[in-house]
């Protein structure tokens, strides 16, 4: 299975995504640069990672949405190709029109960085076999994660089962506590929380450094 991870100028979760996905059995990660316009047809999945593409200039995701590679991504998606956006990747997918709605400044303006509980919403290939209501603990790290959408579009989204994830509690003022959505065809999905930051079982060696630090301080005392 070939997964493409796109790096835009200012992406900062591209390494984490590539590493995290690369740990999975049978996954081959291809790194893509935002200026690549080659055919993406051989990929099984394209991931738009989090970060601050183009320094969030103009609007989050606005500049990345018109990057050269995004024309190819749109074409890939229009043929049914699977596209997944995390955090800034989600913002880019909304800006490019691949997903409905938009993500704007959090209700209380602050940048929120913490672990939160979300629950699986409408059933979709993005969450199967997890059933609706399954709770997940994932970190969020965003200043502009308040999902907004007009009521007409929302009722269409609800009708077509496009609400992929909701926060358990209201965190950022997101409409109907929405944390992630899909397009109507269910081949494009975006979410604000970061699965790649909660999917690393490979090394606990960081604990050895923390333990050494503690030991050093204790011995000095």
């Amino acid at each position: 299975m070939r997964v493409g991870v796109i790096t835009f100028p200012g992406s900062n979760c591209d390494e984490d995504c590539s590493f995290s996905l690369g740990q999975l059995e049978g996954v081959e990660v291809s790194r893509l640069w935002h200026k690549d316009t080659a055919s993406l047809g051989e990929l099984d999945l394209i991931v738009l990672p989090g970060g601050f593409s183009y320094g969030d200039y103009l609007r989050t995701g606005a500049m990345a949405a018109i990057s050269p590679i995004m024309s190819a991504v749109k074409e890939y998606a229009s043929r049914g190709g699977r596209v997944f956006g995390i955090c800034n990747g989600f913002q880019i997918l909304c800006e490019s029109g691949l997903l409905p709605g938009a993500l704007v400044k959090n209700q209380k303006l602050g940048f929120i960085c913490k672990e939160v509980t979300i629950e699986v919403g409408d059933p979709s290939p993005w969450t199967a076999p997890l059933s609706t209501g399954t709770q997940l603990k994932l970190p969020i790290a965003h200043g502009e994660g308040r999902f907004v959408v007009d009521p007409t579009t929302y009722s269409e989204m609800k009708k077509h089962g496009q609400i992929a994830f909701r926060y358990l509690e209201d965190l950022n003022g997101s409409f109907e506590k929405i944390a992630g959505i899909t397009n109507r065809e269910k081949n494009v999905c975006g979410m604000m929380p970061h699965p790649e930051r909660a999917a690393d079982l490979k090394s606990r060696d960081g604990m050895k450094i923390w333990n050494a630090l503690l030991r050093q301080v204790r011995e000095k005392a």
């Binding site: 103009l58 609007r59 606005a62 018109i66 909304c94 800006e95 409905p100 709605g101 938009a102 704007v104 400044k105 959090n106 209700q107 209380k108 303006l109 907004v148 959408v149 007009d150 003022g173």
Partner: protein
């Protein structure tokens, strides 16, 4: 030619910045303040023979990049040679 574009969140989109500034103004004693909305101003210098051409060009720019119609609306404030 020089064009000035004003961009604001649509009325239906909550503007937390404007809301916070409104509360601060009221705290300072400006009890007349009912609401504050904060937007942005974009100045574009462009080449165009006629104002009408520039106006059409600016409209396209707003559509393609400068404005997200899902959340924002805009007004071409001025356009001059």
């Amino acid at each position: 030619m020089k064009a000035r574009i004003h961009i604001f969140y649509k009325d239906s989109v909550f503007d937390p910045q404007g809301n916070t500034v409104a509360a601060s103004l009221q705290r300072l004693g400006f009890n007349t303040v009912k609401d504050v909305r904060i937007g942005k101003v974009i100045d574009v210098t462009l080449e165009a023979k006629r104002i009408e051409d520039a106006r059409i060009e600016i409209g396209k720019m707003c559509e393609k990049l400068l404005v997200n119609p899902v959340i924002e609306s805009y007004r071409l404030e001025s356009i001059e040679a």
